[in-house]
């Protein structure tokens, strides 16, 4: 028995936008993110019902797809050069702000890119509101060690984004 189609419909409506946003942040590439989100829902169609854990499962499958794609692709940071794309955010009010925003994005993306896969997945899943237990399941560690992993990653990201920004 597979997951019922009406349940898929619900899950798609509820989770797709957040999943895609997370995967864009994780991969730095909208193409990879869209493919990974698609892959997650396709796999959901094929699997057994799992009760209440679908959200974490979708994010984990999407994460694995992104990490696999990254291993075979060097397209990361493409978003940074993707000027002219429509985005969900507001456009900067002027050219100066645009340049500054682009530069800040570059710093953030570079800092995220410098993390290990485990650190990046953990910190971005936290931003999406996942519990430490769910994060532990996704990155293959114990629940008790997630706090340490997150704290270390926060320190590192703060240090690198602050240093880089100060150097501008």
């Amino acid at each position: 028995m597979t997951v019922k189609p009406d349940r898929i419909s619900q899950l798609f409506t509820i989770h797709h936008d957040a999943l895609f946003r997370y995967l864009v942040r994780l991969s730095g590439d909208a193409d990879i993110a869209a493919d990974a989100a698609q892959e997650a829902f396709v796999k959901l169609l094929q699997r057994e019902p799992m009760g209440s854990g679908e959200r974490a499962w979708l994010f984990t499958v999407g994460t694995n797809h992104v990490l696999e794609a990254k291993r075979t692709s060097a397209r990361r940071l493409r978003l940074l050069t993707g000027r002219g794309e429509r985005t969900m955010g507001d456009a900067p009010p002027d050219a100066h702000a645009s340049v500054e925003a682009d530069e800040r994005r570059r710093v953030v993306m570079a800092a995220l890119d410098g993390l290990s896969d485990k650190e990046r997945v953990a910190i971005l899943m936290r931003e999406e509101g996942f519990s430490h237990r769910e994060i532990a399941g996704a990155v293959g560690t114990t629940t008790g060690s997630v706090g340490t992993l997150l704290a270390r990653t926060l320190d590192r990201l703060t240090r690198e984004t602050t240093l880089d920004r100060d150097a501008l």
């Binding site: 925003a101 800040r104 994005r105 931003e127 704290a151």
Partner: protein, 250 residues
């Protein structure tokens, strides 16, 4: 697990778990000690504040990463693999088509690549006969062209139609009674239609503010109450039939 007394400082992992309210039962004793310790310890309170500030900093930083909306051209490019024979044959599997049918019915302006991708094969083969003929009515008699339509069983005596945006002026939703057992909905438009998403008790119309579509919905007798919500505002709540202007807020 580290043994901690009220005189020693909890590690960053414990402090972050406290910030995230992630006190699990397996480590309850350790957290109890930390909860007793932190309010009395300037070092730990400062460290917790620093971690909270770092969390805020990260949240702001991550929010700066743009999340693109896939352009129509990009959608077409992404869909192209599914036009190949192997991909088409995949869609001929009955279970796959059935699943896709429930996901969503979309018009020409679908915004989500995944939804569009899931829908397309179904749209080509099943969309046209999916709804009972709509009665001729004014001013809903606009030419039906590339309309999205959907038919499904009601889930109760109440039904909600939810529009994402306030559309351009003059747009209407007309709700009529039908002797059929199913709810049928159709977007009427001379140009494009908006994606329709069926949820339990709810039809969500993912329209844009520039949408030019009118809508017809046929409700069985079993549906006693209709609610119409536009961009979060309830503009109609009562018994059908009803004609609701979509550009007016209550």
């Amino acid at each position: 697990m580290s043994i901690m007394t009220t005189d020693s400082h909890p590690d960053d992992g414990v402090l972050l778990a406290l910030i995230d309210a992630e006190v699990d039962d397996e480590r309850r004793a350790e957290f109890d000690v930390a909860i007793a310790h932190v309010p009395e310890c300037d070092v730990c309170r400062m460290r917790m504040s620093a971690l909270e500030a770092e969390s805020d900093h990260l949240r702001e930083a991550v929010a700066m990463i743009p999340v693109p909306m896939i352009a129509d051209a990009e959608l077409r490019r992404r869909l192209s693999p599914f036009k190949e024979p192997a991909a088409v044959s995949r869609w001929r599997r009955p279970w796959w088509r059935a699943a896709a049918a429930i996901i969503v019915l979309a018009g020409a302006a679908a915004a989500s690549p995944v939804r569009h991708w899931l829908l397309r094969p179904f749209e080509q083969t099943h969309l046209a006969p999916a709804i009972a003929p709509a009665p001729a009515a004014q001013p809903m008699s606009a030419a039906v062209d590339r309309s999205a339509s959907v038919s499904f069983a009601p889930s109760g005596a109440e039904f909600t139609v939810q529009f994402d945006s306030v559309p351009a002026g003059g747009r209407l939703l007309r709700a009529e009674r039908t002797s059929a057992a199913t709810i049928s909905a159709r977007a009427l438009s001379g140009a494009s239609a908006d994606p329709l998403v069926v949820l339990p008790g709810v039809l969500r119309v993912r329209n844009a503010s520039e949408s030019r579509a009118n809508y017809m919905i046929l409700l069985p007798r079993a549906v006693l109450r209709l609610r119409v919500i536009i961009a979060g505002d309830t503009v109609y709540d009562g018994a059908p039939p009803a004609t609701v202007r979509l550009d007016r807020r209550r």
